[in-house]
Structure formats: C-alpha cells, structure tokens
Amino acid sequence: MADDDKGTNQRMDDADEALALRAQAGDRQAFAQLVRRHQERVFRFVLRMLGSREEAMDLTQETFLKAYRALPGWRPEARFATWLFQIARNATLDQLRRRQLVEFVPLDADAPGEAACEPHDAAPLPEERLADRQRIGLLERALGALPAGQREILLLRELEDMSYAEIAATLGVNEGTVKSRLARARAAALAHYRHHAGESPDDRSA
C-alpha cells in the first residue's frame, strides 16, 4: 500500500479515535459523526453478506445500536473501524443463523444478470454494458454459492481492502488462518465462477 494511503488511513483512525472517545464520554454528536463516517461501509458489507437491501438496512442500524451500547467497553488500542466490523460481522452471522440459511439466497435467482435492487429495465442495453452486468451477475452468484465464512473473508479482503492483520482482528483468528482461509475462498469462488460461466474466467484451458 502506498505511503499516502497509510497516511490517510492513519488520519482516519485518529479522527475515529477522537470521536469514539468523545462518544464514550456521552457526546451524541460525536457518535452521529461515527455513524456517518462508517455507515456506507458497514451497509455494503452487510448487504453483500445477506443479499437483501431491507435486511441490510435494518442490520446496519442494529450494528450501530449495538456499537453504542458496547462503546463503554471499547479501548483506543482497538481500531474503531475494526471493532465496528466485528460487531457488524457478528450481527450478520446471527441473522444468517436466525434465517436458518444454509445456502445464500441470491439477490435475484431468476435474473442472474440483473444488478441487485434495480427495477427491471426493458430498454435494450448497449452490448458492452450487458456483458458487464452478466459478469457482475456471475460473480454475485459465485459469491452467493460460498459458505458465509468464505464469503465474508473475500468481502473483507477484496471489497474492504483490509490487510491480513485487520481481517484477523475482525474475525478473531490468527493471520495464518486468514491466509489459508482466504486462499480456499478464492479457489472455491473460482471453481463456482467457472461452473456458472462454463469456462475459465481467463482463456487458459483447464
């Protein structure tokens, strides 16, 4: 990662820490700021885990409510963003258990090429965009076919761009486990991807 990014991340962490300390002391404006800074990230992760916008919206709220209640136990040694993702992740897994969901429900099983949550658009799409949407649908289905444990680690790495140390802290495992679990998740995603695409994502033969 570039030094610039590290600097930016550090500044964001420092700002989070200052806000979280103020929120701990009872400053609700500070907590509102934390919500605003993190709500999109939490929502994105939860949505990709659950597949339903409405459920994701509720669970994002739940995450912040739980975070608020747990705030007295937060310590500045823990990165606020990581701590928050632990809460979001646990809430998400609880929700999946509550649903008794063994298999992920695809966002729209009958229309794999459709982007999630968008109303069906009957107008013909330019060929390039159609191809894009089909590829996105393929990846979403591959992701959806994975067990939750593999899906979450892929999302944390590929979408949230977390380091292995951050993923380890979020999942409560060591970095060696992150390394092997992520590799298995990638291998499984590729296998599903090929299965649905009927071909390798690149042009390599078997």
Binding site: A32, Q33, Q39, E158
Partner: protein, 156 residues
Amino acid sequence: MTDPHEVHASDSDLSAYLDAELDAAARCRVENHLAACPRCAARLADFRHLAAEFARLPRESLGCDLAGVIAGRLAEEARPRPRVHASGWRGLLPLGFGAAASVALGIAMGAVLFGGGAALPRMAAMSVFDPIPPGGLCPGLDACYARGADMTGAFK
C-alpha cells in the same frame, strides 16, 4: 532447493503473494518459482483476475443518512416515555412498514437530538405519518426503499 517443477507454490502462498502479505524470503521463493512454472503463474493470474472482477462490482449505497435514525432509536430506548406513544403508533402500521416508519421516526427524533431542538415526543411520533422528513435530513429516503414508493402514500 528442489527443482521448482517438482513442488508447486501453494494456493495460500500465491494468494498471499497477490496481497503482498508474504515476508521477503517467502516472496522471493514464490517469485523464483513463478518465473519457471507456467502452471503456478496461471493460477496466480486466476486469483488476480478474480480480484479484478471484485473491483468491478457496483458499490451499493445506503442512499440516506442513518445518523438521525440511530439517534432516534437510542433516545427511544433511553427515555421513559408515556406508554401511549410507545406502542400506539407501531400497532397502527401494516406489517413491513416498521423499518420505513422507524427511519421516519428516527429522522424526526434525530432532528430533535442532533438539531438541538426541544420538541415533544408527541410531535416526533406524529411526524411519522408525514411522508416528508422534517428538516430534510434524509433526502435519499426514497432511495432507501426504492420499491416502496407506493408505501409512502400509505402514511397519509
């Protein structure tokens, strides 16, 4: 070291190599092997391709600000309120409207909390039935419930 063609790089080493998470010695070992082994190079290319596909996923967005909603719900929990309001309005709403209603209520109460006003709980509760969020704190409310455009009408 043994002939690079005899022992392939493991998926976990290739995957960690892609993520720049290997220490210098392991990275060097993998790089040397990759230079000599098309099969492992192709596997790495697959992992890289998968990462590129993820980068193309659309960035889903909330479309609104939850800060007010959450402030409202925290206030709802913290404050002892007259029972009438606690159970009354929720019971009036058809099933499935709970989430949308709590968004609207949260916006109302968030406006109270973060806006510094001293509005009465009754006012906040009543504004649930107003489809236009007070203070316009959540201009993207419709976006949050895109399929519920018909639902907002039911609040009237």
